[in-house]
Symmetry: C2
Subunit: 348 residues, 2 copies
């Protein structure tokens, strides 16, 4: 299996990305194709003194352009057809790679995936799913930012896609919750109220509305919401986790016993940090495109990149897209959506 | 000044509420009127052996009904005209109390406030504002749950109301942010995109979009969003703070040095907990009604109730509603809203 890595994206530069690719090839039985400026990437590879054992597992495909983090996604992919992310998805379309991983502009990665590979048959809106750490197993939240204004059928399909995707966490018959502001039926905004009966009438394991406070309890496997709400949930959680650690440290440095205590408890703090570290969860997945793509945080470490590459290969092996299609066909009636013939690349 | 306390609401029963009232009368120059079942409340007062110094500061007004936490707000206030929360707002309408505090059904408290006191002149939708702890000063978020489907003018008015309300935290010229999923102009869902120019053209100190990760940084004083998003932010923050502490404790008990370390650092943990404890911030305020009302968490301790009572008296002293009206009049053009004559009690 070969994963195409957008080797020009990310806050830490190509070297960190290549280091992640090397880690991935060591851990799993796969190859990585680095996509980007050939001269630059070769220079980094030389510097990293890649052993001859690994050298044949890493290849380079040249791309002359890069999409910046602040560029408008759709404009950027139109103008920069030879950008690293577009070329990476080209490789998948040509059958030369099995999946794409990018730590770049997430909107552009989504747009490039849809443009180059098209939507899965019957999917109205591809979206982005991400795993959140909880007190028990991780929970999958979808959509976390691709679709800011949604219709009920979109959220229904997010539930179908994220349920199929949950196999990646070895979850079977995932419990699906609808993110709302009260657990009782009928609580929520007008969108949620319309989605509720669709999920209720489906073959999915729908457990009803869940609230913000339930997200981290671990008593639900899949949580569905629109991309505006999902992105705010993601960002507020990252922000709070960071702020809480900082505030706790502020208090700890105020007293000597507390400082000593912190030194003794440091291993626990580290273990806790690892447990809530998004890097451990290997990026967010594009679901609903006719192929496989993973988006990583811009500031991903080599470790996070490695996890994303391995995660992408697992998605391909498990054939998550086949599950999505099967489930979508089962649910046709519940969703009141006719499965339309696919129009590749015409969504955006 | 006299605050009417809904003495029948809350998870911990009337005794905890009365204890909060007693704390408040000791701390500040004010009286509290307990509203609820007279026999029951008298029994509790006797049990608490209230000293003769405080006795004249606490009075009781009888109400024969109670609205449960799970009752439908509007139905409940229609059916239960003699409920503790309705009678409490009656006291304000009759000039016998200056503000209401309730730890009961927040929807019913909002509905009772609007029904009994009406909206402030020109306000389209009253809402609920709450202070969040941050790394610096607290930030005020509005709306946190009263209005789940909003039009742009509603959010604009939330900004006006929450800015005026920020005086309670001694903030002048508050920086106002619009909660969205990207800082750049034009990022967000269709609602946010329509609200942006209204805020941009106003006399408010609008600093643009803010993201979920900015909420706890403390670099913005007021954050505006619809009540669906705001409630999810509130609940996800509470849930994460709780889950994070639990996960950290799980790690700490795994090793003896870490356990010892925790014992040494316990004071820091306590100080941290106090810093992020919502009880310290004295409840959430109903803004936009022609009077003053505060909603507390159902599981509020006597300490939280005391803070809410003192907070309500501060709102009255500062005459926050006068500021809201003045600001609203200044902003008439920006909001493109004609100030309509008030129709008391006709919103719900």
């Amino acid at each position: 299996m070969q994963i195409a890595l957008d080797a020009m994206a990310g806050d830490h530069g190509s070297e960190e990305l290549i280091a992640g690719a090397l880690l991935a090839t060591k851990q799993a039985d796969l190859k990585v194709c680095l996509v980007g400026d050939e001269t630059l990437l070769n220079k980094h590879l030389d510097k990293l003194a890649v052993s001859s054992d690994s050298a044949h597992l890493i290849t380079i495909v040249h791309a002359s352009q890069v999409i910046g983090m602040d560029e408008h996604p759709v404009d950027a992919i139109r103008k920069k057809k030879d950008s690293s992310v577009m070329v990476a998805f080209d490789l998948v379309r040509q059958g030369r790679a099995d999946a794409v991983v990018s730590a770049g502009n997430s909107g552009a990665t989504m747009a490039a995936g849809v443009r180059r590979l098209g939507r899965l048959n019957g999917i109205l809106r591809p979206g982005i799913a991400s795993a959140f750490p909880t007190q028990k197993k991780p929970v999958i939240l979808m959509d976390i930012g691709a679709n800011v204004d949604c219709r009920p059928q979109h959220l229904f399909q997010f539930a179908v896609m994220a349920s199929a995707y949950s196999r990646i966490l070895d979850i079977s018959d995932p419990r699906v919750g609808l993110l709302s502001i009260g657990e009782e039926t009928g609580k929520g905004n007008s969108l949620v109220k319309e989605v509720y009966p669709l999920l209720k009438n489906s073959a999915l394991n729908f457990i009803g509305n869940v609230e913000g406070k339930d997200v981290f309890q671990g008593d639900v496997d899949v949580i569905v919401c629109d991309g505006f709400v999902g992105n705010i949930c993601l960002k507020i959680s990252e922000g709070l986790a960071e702020a809480a650690m900082q505030m706790l440290k502020d208090e700890i440095v105020k007293s000597l016993p507390a400082k000593l205590g912190y030194l003794l408890a440091r291993s626990a703090f580290k273990a806790f940090k690892k447990r809530v570290d998004y890097a451990e969860y290997g990026g967010a997945s594009l679901l609903g495109i006719d192929g496989t793509g993973l988006i990583c945080h811009g500031n991903s470490s080599s470790h996070a990149i490695k996890n994303a590459i391995v995660g992408a290969s697992k998605m391909v092996k498990l054939d998550i897209n086949r599950d999505i299609l099967q489930s979508l066909n089962r649910e046709k009636d519940a969703a009141q959506v006719e499965v339309q013939p696919r129009k590749a690349g015409r969504v955006l």
